[in-house]
Amino acid sequence: MRAAVVVFPGSNCDHDTYYVLKDLIGIETDLLWYRETNLNRYDLIVLPGGFSYGDYLRAGAIARFAPAVQALPEYIERSRGIVLGICNGFQILTEAGLLPGALTKNISQRFICKTVKLRVENNATPLTHLFGYGEIIELPIAHGEGRYIAPPEILEKLKRNRQILLTYFGENPNGSVENIAGIMNEDGTVFGLMPHPERNSERIFGTGDGLKIFQGLVQEVLV
């Protein structure tokens, strides 16, 4: 198995994500420059957090036209592997139309950086299968544009297909509709999370819940 962490100008969680995959889980991982288009050698592609292109215009709006992102639809269509977008990566995937909805400015108008509680809404997915259904986990968030928005018909579809993976529990930090913190596409091959699992993958950083997300994905790919 081989994973890639795509590096955009302005990515800043790329090395943390690389560290979790390579050093904590022990799979072959490459930092992949955003101009690369050959994705077929990878079983898992992570678009990491950060501020690609300075969040100019809208978060993710410019990165979605980067060559590596332009190569994603074919990769997804061929069911070659799994794609995970974390924070800015999630924003890029919605901008690219690879996940439904959009992420816009937090209701509070502030950048929020703290650990939040999340509820596992669907544990029958590659990303969440190591958690129990309804389990409350903890992950950090760090974003200014994390308010998930989607039209009613899309929300209905997300619920019907059980595409909502994680919701904010206890408090909704950014005003996301239905407390949505993470979703997947209909086929269960593309995942988007606003929280940062790579920032809570070792016990010294908290509960270590984030590691289970990466372990879950890796196990799924290895099967």
Partner: protein, 84 residues
């Protein structure tokens, strides 16, 4: 070829809550501007574009606005053009 000065105005869709607009409106009220309502904060993207006709310029601007300058899930846009 003609040259046009293009202004694309992007704003949050009317049904979307705009916290930025709300904060600006509150501040305007506090600064004494009475009877203000419906404040929305958007973006102005201004550029020059060469095209054979105004129609062609408008078509090209609409295309890039839909594809890139505005996100249709959360934003709407309008185009202003003048020939230079």
């Amino acid at each position: 070829m003609k040259e046009f000065l293009v202004r694309v105005l992007v704003e949050p869709k009317p049904e979307l809550f705009d916290p930025q607009g709300q904060a600006v409106e509150r501040a305007m009220l506090e600064l004494g501007l009475k009877n203000v309502s419906g404040t929305r904060v958007g973006k102005l993207i201004k550029f020059k574009l060469k095209a054979v006709s105004a129609q062609q310029a408008r078509e090209r601007v609409s295309e890039i606005a839909q594809k890139f300058l505005a996100n249709p899930v959360i934003e709407q846009y309008s185009i202003e053009m003048e020939e230079l």
